[in-house]
Subunit: 417 residues, 2 copies
C-alpha cells in the first residue's frame, strides 16, 4: 500500500482521557479510533493486524477440528433464564434493549447457552458427537471501568469455542488439544515467551480452569510463576494446598502482574442439563452432553502485544501479525530515488511480500523515520540519495539500532528469510 493513499496519519497526541499505553500508541500510529471510553474502531492498519491474529486463531481451531459459525448478539431472555444468567445479579455486565413491542432482549455477553440451544436440533445420538464449534463474534459487556485500552472494552470480537463431548474422558482429550492449540496461538502471535498456562478458579465444575496469562505491568491479575516448569497460579487460588497439589514450591514461585489473554474452562453438564441437550448412548441410555468453553479476545491479544513489544519510539510488531512486513521509506525528491523505490515496491509485491511504501512528499527524513518507528513494521528499507551512492538500500529491523547498506540481491534474501 502506498502511504500517500492511506487516509490515516500519525498523531502527536492520543485523546487526553486515554490512560492505557496500548491505546495511546495504537491511536497515535493510526491503528484504532476511540469512539468513547472502552469502545474502539479498527482503522485500516489495525484491521490488518486483527485479521492476521484472527487467521492464526482460526488455523489453530480448524487444526483441532473446530467448525466455524457466527451466532447473533441479540438474544432472547428465554435463552438465558434456564441457567439463571438473565438476572443482573448473576451477570453484571449486561447491555439490554427492547423490541418495539417491549419484549426485552440482551446483547450476548457470551454464547454457551445460545450455542447449546442451537445444537439441540442437530444432536440425537452418540454418532453425532463430539462436536467443536467456534466463532469470531462481537460481544457487548457493560464494564463499569474501561481504562485498559483495547485490553478490556465494552464491545469486542471474541473467539469463543464450545466443545460438546460424550463424556468427561472424551472432553479431557479435547481439552488437552485445545491447551496446545492455545499455546501455539500465543507463540505464533509473538508473546509465547511471556505467556504462562495458569491454574485458576474452576468454579463449580472442575478443580481448576486454565488461563493463559501474559506478564505485563498493564495486566489486571496477579500470578505466581514457576519459570522452570513454565506454569503459574492465579492469586485467586494461590494457597499452600494448591501449591502442593501442583507439585510446586513457594520458593520458586515469583509474583507477577499479568493479563489473561485466553482461558479454557470445563463446563461439564451445567448448560446441557439446564437446556436439555441430551444424546442417546450406544446402549440407548439418555445422557447430557459434556461441555467445555475456550475463549480468546483478538483485540486483547493485540493490545497485549503492544504493551509488551514496544519501546519509547513506538510499536514493534512480530512479523506474524504486523500490518505489513516491509516499510519502504523514500527520502527526498530525487528522481532516481523515486524510480528505485517504485521498482522495489513493485518487485516485492510481485513476490507476495506485504509492503507499505512511504511515498509521501513534503516530509522530512526525520518525520518519516519517526512515523516508521511509531507504526512498527518489522523491516524498514530506506532509499535516499546517500543509500544509492553507497550502493543500494539501507535495511534495518525495527528491533535493531542501526541499518546496513545492501544491494538488491542481499535485500531480497533478507526479506525472503
Amino acid at each position: 500500500m502506498k502511504q500517500s493513499h492511506l487516509f490515516t496519519k500519525t498523531k502527536k497526541e492520543a485523546p487526553a482521557d486515554e490512560v492505557a499505553k496500548n491505546a495511546e500508541l495504537l491511536i497515535k500510529a493510526g491503528f484504532i479510533n476511540k469512539e468513547m471510553a472502552g469502545v474502539y474502531s479498527y482503522l485500516p492498519l489495525g484491521l490488518r493486524v486483527i485479521n492476521k491474529i484472527q487467521n492464526i486463531i482460526r488455523e489453530e481451531m480448524n487444526a483441532i477440528g473446530g467448525q466455524e459459525v457466527t451466532l447473533t448478539a441479540l438474544q432472547e431472555k428465554a435463552t438465558w433464564e434456564p441457567t439463571n444468567q438473565w438476572d443482573d445479579a448473576e451477570v453484571d455486565v449486561w447491555f439490554k434493549t427492547k423490541l418495539k413491542n417491549e419484549t426485552e432482549l440482551g446483547l450476548a455477553v457470551t454464547h454457551e447457552a445460545a450455542m447449546t440451544k442451537m445444537l439441540k436440533s442437530f444432536v440425537e445420538s452418540y454418532r453425532d458427537l463430539p462436536v467443536n464449534i467456534y466463532q469470531f463474534q462481537t460481544k457487548f459487556r457493560n464494564e463499569t471501568r474501561a481504562k485498559s485500552g483495547i485490553m478490556r472494552t465494552r464491545e469486542f470480537i471474541m473467539k469463543d469455542l464450545y466443545s460438546f463431548s460424550k463424556d468427561e474422558a472424551e472432553h479431557n482429550e479435547f481439552y488437552e488439544k485445545a491447551k496446545e492449540a492455545y499455546k501455539n496461538v500465543f507463540k505464533r502471535a509473538g508473546i509465547g515467551h511471556l505467556t504462562y498456562l495458569t491454574f485458576a478458579s474452576g468454579g463449580m465444575f472442575s478443580k481448576f480452569s486454565h488461563e493463559f496469562q501474559t506478564i505485563t505491568s498493564a495486566g489486571e491479575d496477579i500470578i505466581y510463576v514457576d519459570e522452570s516448569k513454565g506454569i503459574a497460579i492465579n492469586k485467586e487460588v494461590y494457597n499452600d494446598e494448591v501449591i502442593a497439589n501442583l507439585g510446586l514450591s513457594k520458593e520458586t514461585l515469583v509474583e507477577n502482574r499479568a493479563v489473561e489473554v485466553g482461558n479454557i474452562f470445563t463446563l461439564a453438564t451445567r448448560f446441557s442439563d439446564a437446556l436439555n441437550l441430551k444424546y442417546k448412548t450406544e446402549t440407548g441410555e439418555e445422557k447430557s452432553v459434556f461441555m467445555g468453553s475456550y475463549g480468546i479476545g483478538p483485540g486483547r491479544l493485540m493490545g497485549t502485544v503492544v504493551e509488551v513489544l514496544s519501546d519509547d519510539k513506538g510499536i514493534i510488531w512480530p512479523e506474524s501479525i504486523a500490518p505489513f512486513k516491509v516499510h519502504i521509506l523514500e527520502l527526498g525528491d530525487d528522481m532516481e530515488v523515486k524510480t528505485t523505490a517504485n521498482a522495489l515496491y513493485a518487485t516485492l509485491q510481485s513476490k507476495g511480500i506485504e509492503v507499505m511504501y512511504d511515498d509521501r512528499t513534503g516530509m522530512s527524513a526525520g518525520e518519516k523515520f519517526a512515523d516508521a518507528d511509531l507504526i512498527g513494521i518489522p523491516y524498514r528499507v530506506v532509499i535516499s540519495p546517500r543509500s544509492l551512492k553507497d550502493g543500494g538500500y539501507e535495511v534495518k529491523k525495527r528491533t535493531e539500532g542501526k541499518g546496513k547498506i545492501v544491494n538488491i540481491d542481499e535485500l531480497t534474501e533478507i526479506l525472503n528469510g
Copy 2:
C-alpha cells in the same frame, strides 16, 4: 470437508413461524439457524457463502480505491444529535441501551455520522481528499415486521462505504465508478441478469438515488423496468415527469416486484456541515467535504440468490458463492467405492477445488440425492458400484436433470473448467 464431520444435518421442516422461502430453504439445508423472528445465525455452510459474498464485494470496493475499517455498533447520543438522527421520530428502527451510569447509547443503524466524525482528525486540506472508506459491520435495526427471512433482519452485516470528495464533480466521478462496481458485484454473485439500476427518491440532496433492484416475488418494492435499456424506476418516483426526464416511455415499462439489494446515495454536505468536516482548498478557502454513501447487505444478497435461484428440490448456488464447488456422493458400503471416493476427494483438494464429500454411512442413495439437491452445490459426482461398472464417475450439474458417466480425466477437465 467430509460431511460426516459437519455438525449440521438437513431438516424436514423449517420452524412453523417461518414464512420466507429463503429462510425455509436455508434452515432446512443447514445454512442458518433462527434465533428469533428477524435474527439468524450463520452455520458452517452459511458462513462459507456469506464469506464468499463479502470477498466479492471487498474485491470490488478495493478496486475502486476503498479502504477497509470496522467501526463499532455502540455509539454515543452526541454522534447522532447534530443530524437530528437520535430522535426516534426521525430514525424509527433504534435499539437503544444504557451504560451502568445511565448514559444512553444507540446501536448504530448506519454509520454516516460516526464515519464523518472519525475522519475529522485525518482531513485538513485538499491534499487529504478524496477518501473512500468502507466496512463490513453489524447493524441493528428494530424492525416491526420481520417476515422476509434473511432479506430483512434485526441484526445483519452491512457493507457500507462512504465517499468523501472535494466537490460535486469529484463525487460524481466516484459515484459512477461505484455504480459499475455494484453492477459487477451482482453479476459475479449470479443475479446480474435479474438486477436493474433503479431510479428512486433522492431525498434532499439529489434528484435521484440509485437502487439495485432484483426481480423476485419475495421483494417488498414495486419497480417499472425498461428491459431494453436495462434500467428501472421505483414506484415512489414513478410519474410522467420522471419517465420523460429519463427518456423512457410508459409503453415499454413493465411493473415488477423486486428487492433492493444495494443502493448508492449522494449525501452532499448534510453530514459534513452538521459535524463540521471541512478542508482547506488550494486557495486557502474552507469548504465542507462532499459525501456519498453506498450500501449492500451480504445477507440480503444471499437471501435474494436463494429466492431467485432455487427449485422445488432446493437451492441452486452460483459457483462464485457456493459453499463448495463439488459434492462427492459415495453410495453404498462397497470397498472399491470408498477407496475411489476417498482418492477423488484427496485429488480434487490437492488441486485447490473445494469439495464436500458425503461419506456418511447408513443412508440410502435417495436420502443422499435429496440432501445434495437441497444444499445445492454446483457439481455432483456420484461414485457407486454402478458408476464404477460403467467406467467411472457420474457427474451432474445442479442445474441439469441427468448426469453422465465420465472417467477421471474427463471429470478433472469438467471441474477445472
